[in-house]
């Protein structure tokens, strides 16, 4: 993998050479995130969110393993065991708040990372597989986050579990049996709680495995860059270490400052107060909302209030919600424009901006109560969301006239033609 001018790993010590012959792990690291991996010299800050998502995945795994040492996945004592963590376990409150808010930061990083990919066309050839693996990571992360939210066994946990497994009930004929299979009962109870805990512990490691494949797939073509122009020679790249390790280190420091500020000073700002009420199967909270990172999809789910042809509204909403993410799997083939970067696509740039606003509107509606005007706004915004991917992008790639691309990354950086750039 990588470019022919990548620096070769040369162990200088006897131990280094012995190691390199038997298990070339240092060579692997050198070639992945060391000086042996040349990366485009013009990457902007939008290229920092991959490492940040990785950072928060590690935060989640470490704090999660610790919480599992004190948590009890039993419907009778789960809620109390969380309060035990909050009150009795040494620094337990801090570790739980780190885990709860770490999930939010993971999704902040992952959304900005996805947005970067969407704007700079990082999903286009030769990086389709990289993009597809990213979508898989996102889906796994959603499943993990959902099951994790059920574990404290508060009111939101319980009713979240009921509502989300209720989605499967919408499937014709087999829906009800599938829901009962998922829950191990007719409503969320001990069986569901235990399997959610088991899977919530497992899936992050599956995510870590897919992340390794994601990085592997990245390192074959190398990173995309803000111009979207291919790397043409050594003058277009800098070694990953120290240039991007230092840059990533700097944003990791910044991210940890924001993270700890939220965790220590506003630890419940992104949570819901109702989840501090123990689960009660006989009483639904007045206003059920998922965590903020699910709001846009939740809005699409609720937008379908009408039956269409022979399809009931309930099924339509579920199909639309899943399709909203599954459509990303087809994105590399929906957007046929050969120009990657949105910087050189004047019309795409505008529609991309509208899409961002559209998703933010969906997010707002998803967090708002299910009443007018939010239902109608959700319907319009959901319609536009699908139109963007299924109509606007395919048409744009035929009709838009892109601006001229720079001849090379170096030329775009220095403003000088290639032969005079140092």
């Amino acid at each position: 993998m990588s470019f022919p001018w990548a620096k070769e790993y040369t162990p200088t010590t006897d131990f280094g050479q012995w190691m390199d012959k038997q298990l070339p792990l240092p060579r692997f690291i050198y070639n992945s995130v060391g000086a042996g991996y040349p990366a485009p010299r013009n990457l902007n800050y939008m290229w920092n969110f991959g490492s940040l998502a990785g950072l928060f995945l590690v935060v989640q795994i470490v704090t999660g393993i610790i919480l599992a040492m004190h948590y009890a996945a039993n419907a009778n004592i789960a809620f109390d065991s969380v309060e035990h963590i909050m009150r009795d376990v040494n620094s337990g409150w801090m570790i739980r708040y780190a885990h709860a808010n770490g999930a939010s930061f993971f999704f902040i990083a992952i959304y900005l990372h996805i947005g970067r990919g969407l704007f700079y066309g990082s999903y286009k050839a030769p990086r389709e597989m990289l993009w597809l693996l990213g979508v898989v990571i996102y889906l796994l992360a959603m499943a993990t986050a959902f099951m994790g939210y059920v574990l404290p066994w508060g009111q939101m946990s319980f009713w979240g579990a009921k509502v989300i497994t209720g989605l499967f009930e919408a499937i014709p004929l087999v829906g009800k049996p599938i829901q009962e299979l998922l829950l191990g009962g007719f409503a969320p109870d001990n069986a569901a709680l235990n399997r959610f805990f088991s899977l919530h512990y497992l899936l992050p490691f599956v995510i870590a495995g897919v992340v390794i494949m994601h990085i592997w797939a990245l390192h074959i073509p190398g990173s995309n860059n803000p111009t979207g122009v291919d790397v043409k020679g050594p003058q277009d790249t800098v070694p990953f270490h120290p240039y991007y390790t230092a840059k990533d280190g700097w944003t990791i420091g910044l991210a940890l400052i924001f993270f700890t500020a939220l965790m220590f000073f506003l630890p419940n700002a992104l949570g819901h107060a109702d989840n501090y009420i123990p689960a009660n199967p006989l009483s639904t909270p007045a206003h059920i909302v998922p965590e903020w990172y699910f709001w846009p999809w939740y809005a699409i789910l609720r937008a379908f209030t009408f039956d269409f042809l022979f399809i009931p509204a309930k099924l339509l909403g579920v199909l639309a919600m899943f399709s909203a993410i599954l459509v990303w799997f087809f994105l590399p083939w929906l957007d046929k424009s050969p120009v990657r970067s949105g910087n050189f696509r004047p019309k795409f740039k505008i529609f991309f901006g509208i899409l961002v606003i559209d998703v933010l509107i969906l997010g707002y509606c998803g967090g708002a109560p299910a009443e007018e005007p939010f239902v109608m706004i959700s319907q319009l915004a959901a319609a536009y969301y699908f139109a963007h991917f299924l109509i606007i992008l395919p048409l744009l790639s035929r009709m838009e006239k892109p601006e001229p691309l720079p001849n090379s990354i170096t030329e775009s950086v220095t403003g000088k033609p290639l032969n005079t750039a140092s």
Partner: protein
């Protein structure tokens, strides 16, 4: 890349240390200190939690224990033997020459002054942690009339001192205090 390095190499030639070296060391040290500060609570969470520590001392009513009887109770999830020694057992314990013991202690060392008949020990053999026999009625008390550990054959005398077998020390006497004639606080 050459252009990026030039300015710094000029300084390096003069002093031998580049400005960047200082920034590097400062940044990495700071991150290291932060990592240590982060790791501390992540490890410390494994220490006994507040609810466990809250149960670390107990009060036991001993009014019903007749001379010659003993009870087993539980303290910090470990068995405790509280034994009301008979006059005979006390004199038996005092008759032993401590110089010949593996863990030399007198009965007085192991009891509260004025309450020498109350022998309070952990019911945990100091060899490998089994519960010795002898506290409950009808159990074997061993060759020295105190306790006998069935796991590896340690014999304890009436002051719960190790007399024969593999155990290295006497049964542990936990910190305790008589709140009244009938109530003892352990821990």
């Amino acid at each position: 890349m050459a252009t990026v390095e030039t300015a710094d190499t000029a300084v390096a030639e003069e002093s031998g240390v580049r400005r960047r070296d200082f920034i590097n060391i400062a940044a990495v040290s700071f991150a290291g200190a932060g990592a240590v500060a982060t790791v501390f609570p992540l490890v410390n969470q494994m220490n006994p939690s507040a609810d466990v520590l809250a149960l670390s001392s107990i009060e036991v009513d001993i009014s019903a224990i007749e001379a010659g009887q003993s009870i087993k109770t539980s303290w910090r999830k470990q068995p405790i033997f509280i034994r009301n020694l008979t006059a005979d057992e006390i004199s038996q314990a005092n008759a032993v020459d401590t110089a010949g013991l593996r863990d030399p202690e007198t009965l007085a060392d192991r009891t509260t002054p004025g309450k020498e008949n109350w022998l309070i020990t952990l019911g945990v053999c100091t060899h490998l942690g089994c519960v010795p026999l002898g506290a409950a009625q009808g159990e074997i008390k061993g060759e020295f009339g105190g306790y006998f550990c069935p796991c590896h054959g340690s014999h304890y005398d009436t002051a719960a001192r190790i007399r024969k077998g593999p155990a290295p020390t006497n049964l542990v006497v936990p910190e305790h205090e008589f709140l009244s004639d009938t109530v003892v606080k352990i821990g």
